[in-house]
Amino acid sequence: MNRNVLFTGAVLAAGIVYLAMALRMPLGSVAFPGPGFYPSAVGVFLVLAAAVCFGMALVQAKKERPAAAMPERSEPGRPCIAPTIPLIALMMLYAVSLPYLGFIPAISAFLLIAMRIFGHRSWGRGMLITCVVVAVSYIGFVYWLNVPLPRGLLDEYL
């Protein structure tokens, strides 16, 4: 299915849910708007705007369908999203592991694997760069900026 149709459809669905939840909040009156007044107005606007965009996307998808059916009219050079999936997964893994492992182990692993994803091949050089960068970052954020970075469960037990 056309990606724009999916995207606008998802926004429309989210908008409908948003509006439904807003209407269940106390609306108050025009003179004393309640917590649900403004979200309800925004929700109506969101649903309308998303519906228009969804309709436009459907019309556009219908026009493109005959062209897409002809295999020789493919899009050469269109970027593929596959390379981004490992990086997204890595970032999520970092966020999950950070409170448990602490800053230094989590970010070190992240950097090492991220460099591989971006095409760096040497493990030795990668580890050296990781050590330097993590050390500088730790000193910069913790001692210079006084940011209390997560220490992790291991550090608390040790």
Binding site: R3, N4, F7, T8, V11, G15, Y18, M25, P26, S29, V30, A31, F32, P33, G34, P35, G36, Y38, P39, V42, G43, F45, L46, A49, A50, V52, C53, M56, P79, C80, I81, P83, T84, L87, I88, M91, M92, Y94, A95, L98, F103, I107, F110, L111, A114, M115, I117, F118, G119, H120, I129, V133, S137, F141, L145, N146, V147, P148, L149, P150
Partner: protein, 503 residues
């Protein structure tokens, strides 16, 4: 305090060793960021926001002003030398700048770009010095109705000027406004859209959203083409000087660009980008040389002056009204709020050190950029040779750690990742994230102003049109929204009318 006295006071504040050093660092960092495609001044400013926590607010503002101006200078370097805009506002410079490089006039293009940026930056700062206090005095008459009107019209103008489909921009504005309602509602303390999660009670901070949509999404996009290599053309120092004819041809485009850029900066939206596009169109129309498309120096001088002048113009609504009209100004506002300084009409009178100190530092920063950018152009351009497999993970580290340091909250990390994925998807589908971010910032202002207006007016909606200032602002918004539609309908009706008259 007159503007002249204010400027003198500002120089006394800005010319300290710390402020000069910070201004210099900001200018260099901004230039580097401008050279590197990807992060952009907004992502960088959001990333460096934690640095300002321990700083004096004047010093923090000086840092960010340096970054913003520096990015405009840096973006033109890669546009001219490499056919690769380092920053969105420098996209237009590629058209004529790179053609000049192919003709062997890269040095002239770089010099005219730097001098034009300096002249325009200085002119816009001068205009800011006079306009902001005047507008701040006028804004003392603003009530909640006027602030609601300004925020609403600001978003409508943003939707119009962002480019692309109006419906898409309006949808993104609605999404941003909806996201701005998440959290504890301020009057009744009602938890909205928190789904029982205490972390969501504080709401969605716009900084993780900005870093994700503008910073992280760019990093993800580089994976689409990680093997891109660039060949850097060397420009010897002796070739940096344009000819007398080239200077003469550049002069009026620089002046026009300065005016266009400052006016564009006053408007909501991606003002440096709009300014450079409008300036290019104007110079193209006025061109008599026939060189446009083949390396016309007017096509470099005008747009580069315009995008720098827009930076100064963008500060006016923030410093005078306390309303940011661009995501970058929203980050600057965050610097003020972190230091318990409320931007608005009283800022200039209650914090003259801050206002005039920042203005004076902009003059100094602009001068530093002119002096350092030309001799170091080769150094800055060669930064782009840094392999992506070192650069991008480093940028990601700064994003992930920087966003955590804002509120020491894992929620912000997750939000940034989520917005990064959303921003990447939007990039692939040709959606501009700026309306979403601006609506996230202006939405709460709109809600608060609307509620206060209604409480004061006893629920009478006509208050927005009976108050003269509010009515004027809304009329401008209506004009901007409806006029292009009417013009398009007239154009479409025109050929049909001609056909029916002919038959």
């Amino acid at each position: 305090m007159s503007p002249f006295e204010g400027l003198l006071h500002g120089f006394a504040v800005a010319v300290t060793p710390v402020n000069l050093l910070v201004g210099f660092v900001g200018a260099i960092v901004g230039t580097v960021i401008g050279v590197l495609p990807g992060l952009g001044p907004l992502g960088t400013m959001a990333l460096l926001l934690p640095l300002t926590y321990g700083m004096d607010p004047v010093t923090g503002m000086i840092l960010f002003a340096g970054i913003y101006f520096g990015a405009m200078y840096g973006g033109s370097t890669t546009s001219i030398l490499l056919n690769m805009p380092g920053e969105a506002a420098s996209v237009i410079t590629v058209m004529e700048g790179y053609q000049m490089t192919l003709r062997g006039r890269a040095g002239a293009a770089l010099a005219v770009s730097a001098v034009g940026s300096f002249i325009a930056g200085t002119a816009s700062i001068l205009a800011l010095s006079f306009m902001a206090p005047t507008l701040a005095d006028a804004a003392l008459k603003f009530g909640p109705a006027e602030y609601f009107a300004v925020a609403l019209v600001g978003l409508l103008i943003m939707a119009r000027l962002t480019g692309g489909s109006l419906a898409k921009s309006l949808m993104l504005i609605a999404v941003g406004a909806a996201l701005g309602t998440v959290g504890m509602e301020s009057v009744a303390g009602y938890a909205r859209y928190t789904f029982g999660q205490p972390m969501l009670a504080q709401g969605i901070d716009f900084l993780p959203a900005a870093m994700g949509l503008f910073g992280l999404s760019e990093v993800l996009a580089t994976l689409d083409d990680p093997d891109q290599k660039v060949a850097i053309r060397k420009v010897p120092l002796r070739e940096l000087w344009p000819t007398v004819l080239e200077w003469r041809r550049s002069f009026w485009p620089m002046i026009r660009g300065s005016f266009i850029g400052f006016c564009a900066g006053l408007l909501p939206g991606p003002s440096p980008v709009i300014a450079s596009m409008v300036s290019y169109s104007v110079e193209r129309r006025l061109d008599k040389s026939g060189e446009f498309g083949k390396g016309a120096i007017e096509g470099v001088a005008g747009p580069e002056a315009a995008n720098n002048a827009a930076v100064g113009g963008a500060y006016v609504p923030l410093l005078a009204l306390g309303i940011p009209f661009t995501p970058a100004m929203a980050v600057v506002m965050a610097v003020l709020l972190i230091n318990h300084v409320s931007p608005g009409p009283l800022l200039i009178s209650s914090h003259p050190d801050l206002f005039w100190g920042v203005i004076a530092s902009m003059y100094i920063g602009n001068f530093m950029l002119l002096v350092f950018n030309l001799p170091l152009v080769g150094v800055f351009a060669s930064i782009i040779r840094t392999p992506l497999h070192y650069l991008m993970p480093l940028v990601l580290l700064l994003c992930l750690v920087g966003v955590y340091s804002i509120n020491n909250s894992m929620l912000d990390v997750w939000l940034m990742i989520g917005f990064g994925i959303l921003g990447y998807a939007m990039k692939r589908l040709d959606y501009n994230p700026a309306p979403l971010v601006l609506a996230l910032v202006l939405g709460p202002i709109m809600e608060r102003s609307f509620r206060e207006s209604m409480m004061l007016a006893g629920g009478n909606l006509a208050t927005f049109v009976t108050r003269p200032i509010s009515a004027s602002i809304l009329a401008v918004g209506l004009l901007v929204t409806v006029a292009p539609l009417l013009i398009r309908m007239r154009r479409m009706a025109g050929p049909r009318r001609n056909v029916s008259e002919a038959t």
